[in-house]
C-alpha cells in the first residue's frame, strides 16, 4: 500500500493540452474516485498513473517514489480495464497467474495466490473456464482477480462497471467497496457516473475540461459544492438553477417569484446570482411559491415532479405520494435553511 501524489500534472497530445496542471493527494489506503463527464481527462490521468501514457509535465509519485520515468510493470500497480481486457485464450486461472508466470514465480506460490484471490471473489468454481464462457459480472470479477493476485501498492479501475447492466452494476459496486474495505489497498477509480462516485468513494475528485473542479468527501461535495459545475454534476436528479438577484436579503428570480435565502452572502445585494435548489430540498407549503405541475413521475419510493414557475422548469422530488395532476397548481418552498447561491458571472459559490 502506498500514497499517491499528483503534482501540477499536464498532458498534451501534440499542441492540444487536455490536462491543465492537476494536483491530487491520495492517502495510503484511500478509495479515491475521479469523476467527470466524458472528455474531462480522468481516464488519461489514470493511464498516466499506470504508465500507459507519458507525462508531459509535472510529477506523479507512488509511495514517495517519482514514477514519471518508471516503466508500468515496475510501478507496482494493477489496473482493471473497462472492457476487462482478459486474454481470451487463457483460462481464468491462467489469466490471473499471467503476471506471476512472467515474473518467474514458483508454481506453488502462483497456485496459492490464485486460489486465495479466487476465494475472495467467489471464482473457485470457474478457474478452468475461458473468458468467453463467463457472464459480464464474472469477467469483471476475473479482471479484479488478476489485479488482486499481484498484490499491488495501488489498484486502478478504469470505468469498470460501464459494460454491465444496471442491476449488476449496483451489485458489483457493493462488491468493489467490500473488497476495498477488506484489502485496504489504495484505490483510484475512474467513472463518469456520479452515483458510483457518491456511494463508493472516500474522496471524490471532480474533473472538468482537464482541471480539478473540487476535491472532497462525497457528502461534502453534495452539501457544499464549490461551483456551478460540481453543484450540477453531483446529485441525481440534478440541482435546479434559477437565475435572479438578491434584493433585501431575499432572492428575486428573473421569473418574478421570491425565495428565502437564509443568511444572505455579504455584498451580494443587487448582484446577479444563480440560486441552486436540489430537487429533494423542495417541500410543499401552503404559503409558498405557486407553481404549475407539468409531469408527475412516481417511482414508488418517491415522486418526481416537473414544475413550471416563472417561465422555467424545475424538478422536485417528494417522499410522499402525490395526487397532483398536470396543470394543477402546487405551492412550494425550499426546505433548506441556507440556500446555495452562485455568482452568475464566475459560477463560484457565494459564502454567507
Amino acid at each position: 500500500m502506498a500514497s499517491v501524489t499528483i503534482r501540477e500534472v499536464r498532458k498534451a497530445f501534440g499542441p492540444v493540452e487536455i490536462i491543465h496542471g492537476v494536483n491530487i493527494d491520495i492517502e495510503d489506503g484511500e478509495f479515491v474516485i475521479l469523476v467527470g463527464p466524458s472528455g474531462c481527462g480522468k481516464s488519461t490521468l489514470l493511464r498516466m498513473l499506470a504508465g500507459l501514457e507519458n507525462i508531459t509535465s509535472g510529477e506523479i509519485s507512488i509511495g514517495n517514489r517519482v514514477v514519471n520515468q518508471v516503466p508500468p510493470k515496475e510501478r507496482d500497480i494493477a489496473m482493471v480495464f473497462q472492457n476487462y481486457a482478459l486474454y481470451p485464450h487463457m483460462s481464468v486461472a491462467d489469466n490471473m497467474a499471467f503476471s506471476m508466470k512472467l515474473r518467474g514465480a514458483p508454481q506453488s506460490e502462483i497456485t496459492e495466490r490464485v486460489d486465495k484471490a479466487a476465494r475472495i471473489l467467489g471464482l473457485t468454481q470457474l478457474l478452468d473456464r475461458y473468458p468467453r464462457q463467463l457472464s459480464g459480472g464474472q469477467r469483471q470479477r476475473v479482471a479484479m482477480g488478476r489485479a488482486i493476485v499481484r498484490d499491488p501498492q495501488v489498484f486502478l479501475f478504469d470505468e469498470p462497471l460501464s459494460n454491465l447492466d444496471a442491476k449488476l452494476r449496483v451489485q458489483m459496486r457493493t462488491e468493489i467497496k467490500e473488497l476495498h474495505q477488506r484489502l485496504k489497498t489504495t484505490t483510484v477509480y475512474v467513472t463518469h457516473d456520479q452515483i458510483e462516485a457518491m456511494t463508493m468513494a472516500d474522496k471524490i475528485v471532480v474533473m472538468h475540461d482537464g482541471i480539478v473542479e473540487q476535491i472532497g468527501a462525497p457528502l461534502d461535495l453534495y452539501d457544499n459544492p464549490d461551483n456551478l459545475f460540481v453543484a450540477g454534476f453531483i446529485g441525481s436528479p440534478a440541482m435546479n438553477f434559477i437565475k435572479g438577484r438578491i434584493e433585501g436579503g431575499e432572492f428575486v428570480a428573473d421569473g418574478g417569484f421570491r425565495l428565502p435565502v437564509g443568511k444572505a452572502p455579504a455584498g451580494a445585494e443587487g448582484r446577479p446570482v444563480i440560486y441552486g435548489l436540489r430537487p429533494e430540498h423542495i417541500r410543499i407549503e401552503a404559503g409558498g411559491v405557486p407553481t404549475e405541475v407539468v409531469v408527475v413521475e412516481p417511482t414508488g419510493s418517491e415522486t418526481q415532479v416537473v414544475l413550471r414557475v416563472g417561465g422555467q422548469e424545475i424538478v422536485a422530488v417528494f417522499k410522499e405520494r402525490l395526487t397532483a395532476r398536470p396543470g394543477e397548481t402546487l405551492a412550494i418552498s425550499p426546505s433548506l435553511a441556507v440556500a446555495h447561491l452562485f455568482d452568475a458571472d464566475t459560477g463560484r459559490r457565494l459564502v454567507a
Binding site: 510493470k73 481486457a85 499471467f98 503476471s99 463467463l134 459494460n163
Partner: protein, 317 residues
C-alpha cells in the same frame, strides 16, 4: 410460411393441398434455390475432376479416347524416376516456400500493424505482387534471373562481390532457390494482409494489460498475439500450401521444369505429359496423384481449424 397460415383456404377446408404444402416446405424450396449453384459446381468442378480421375485409368492419347487399363498408369509413374523427382521437387518447393512465406508474411504484418507514416499507401504497395498477373511477374523474374542480363548479377558485379554472372536458372539448386524466391515474392502479400487483418482484431487493451502484467515485446507476441492469431494462421496457411502445391504458371514461364527436370513440379509435369506429350492418361494419373497430398494438407488444417475451447461462447465485450 406465415402466408399459408394466414391465407384463408376457403375452397379447401379439409386442409392445404399437397401442392400448397410443398410450396411452403422449406426443404423443397431450399432445394430449388440451391440448384443453380449446384449445377455450376457439378459442371465446372465435379465433372472435370471426375473426368480427370477416369482418364487416369485409361490409355487415352490425344485423338484417341482410350480404354480402361486399371492402375497401369499409376504403376508406370511410380516407377518413373522423373515422377519421383517431381514429387520431391513439389514437396520441397511447397515446404520451403510456405515456411518462408509464413515467416516473412507474419513479420511484414506485424510491421504494418504499427503506426507508420503513409500507412495506407504502404499497405497498398505491399499488395502489388499479389495483383500483378502471375505470368507478367514471372516474365519479370525471368529477366531478373537471366544468365546474361540479370540485374542481380550486374549489381553484385558492380559492387565487386562476384566476378562472373550467376547462373540462376541453369544450375539445379540455384534454379530451385530462384523459383522459390519468385513464389515467395508473389505469395507474401496474401499472407501479410490476411494476418494483418487478424492482428487488427486483437484489442489494444490486451497489450496494455500485458504491459502492466510485465510482458516484454517478445512475450507479448508469444503469449498474447500468436495464440489469438492461430485460427487465422491455420486458414491462411492452408490456402497458401494448396496454392503453392498446385503452382504452375511461375515454373512454366521461368524454367519449364528445367534444368533436367530439377524444378519440374507435379502440375507442370502433368501438363507437359498430357498436353504437350499427348499421353493424356499418364498425365491425368500424375495430376490425380496430387489429390492425396492435397487431402492430407486439408486434413491437417481441418484439425487445426477446429474451434479451440477458448473460442466458444460469446465475445469478450
Amino acid at each position: 410460411m406465415s402466408d399459408a397460415a394466414i391465407t384463408p383456404s376457403g375452397h379447401d377446408r379439409a386442409g392445404p393441398s399437397f401442392w400448397e404444402g410443398l410450396k411452403t416446405n422449406r426443404n423443397f424450396l431450399g432445394f430449388w434455390f440451391m440448384l443453380p449453384a449446384a449445377a455450376f459446381l457439378v459442371l465446372f468442378l465435379v465433372y472435370p475432376l471426375g473426368l480427370g480421375v477416369w482418364l487416369s485409368f485409361t490409355d487415352s492419347k490425344i485423338g484417341n479416347p482410350g480404354d480402361f487399363i486399371g492402375l497401369e498408369n499409376y504403376e508406370w509413374i511410380i516407377g518413373d524416376a522423373k515422377f519421383q523427382l517431381a514429387v520431391f521437387n513439389t514437396l520441397f518447393y511447397t515446404f520451403v516456400a510456405s515456411v518462408v512465406k509464413f515467416a516473412v508474411g507474419l513479420y511484414l504484418a506485424i510491421l504494418l500493424n504499427n503506426h507508420l507514416p503513409f500507412k495506407a499507401m504502404i499497405r497498398a504497395v505491399v499488395l502489388i505482387p499479389f495483383i500483378v498477373p502471375t505470368v507478367l511477374s514471372a516474365i519479370a523474374f525471368w529477366w531478373i534471373f537471366d544468365p546474361q542480363f540479370s540485374v542481380i548479377s550486374w549489381a553484385l558485379r558492380k559492387w565487386g562481390w562476384i566476378s562472373g554472372n550467376i547462373d540462376f536458372l541453369g544450375d539445379p539448386w540455384n534454379a530451385r532457390i530462384s523459383v522459390i524466391f519468385a513464389n515467395v515474392w508473389r505469395g507474401v502479400p496474401f499472407i501479410a494482409i490476411t494476418l494483418l487483418a487478424g492482428l487488427q482484431t486483437v484489442s489494444p487493451s490486451l497489450y496494455e494489460a500485458a504491459t502492466l502484467d510485465g510482458a516484454s515485446k517478445w512475450q507479448m507476441f508469444r503469449y498474447v498475439t500468436y495464440p489469438i492469431l492461430t485460427p487465422i494462421i491455420a486458414v491462411v496457411m492452408t490456402f497458401s500450401v494448396l496454392f503453392t502445391f498446385t503452382d504452375f504458371q511461375l515454373i512454366k514461364v521461368l524454367t519449364n521444369g528445367g534444368p533436367a527436370g530439377t524444378t519440374e513440379l507435379m502440375a507442370t509435369m502433368s501438363y507437359n505429359t498430357a498436353i504437350l506429350g499427348g499421353r493424356i492418361g499418364e498425365g491425368a494419373a500424375i495430376s490425380t496423384a496430387m489429390i492425396p497430398f492435397l487431402l492430407g494438407a486439408i486434413m491437417i488444417s481441418w484439425f487445426g481449424l477446429q474451434k479451440r475451447k477458448w473460442q466458444q461462447g460469446s465475445d469478450n465485450d
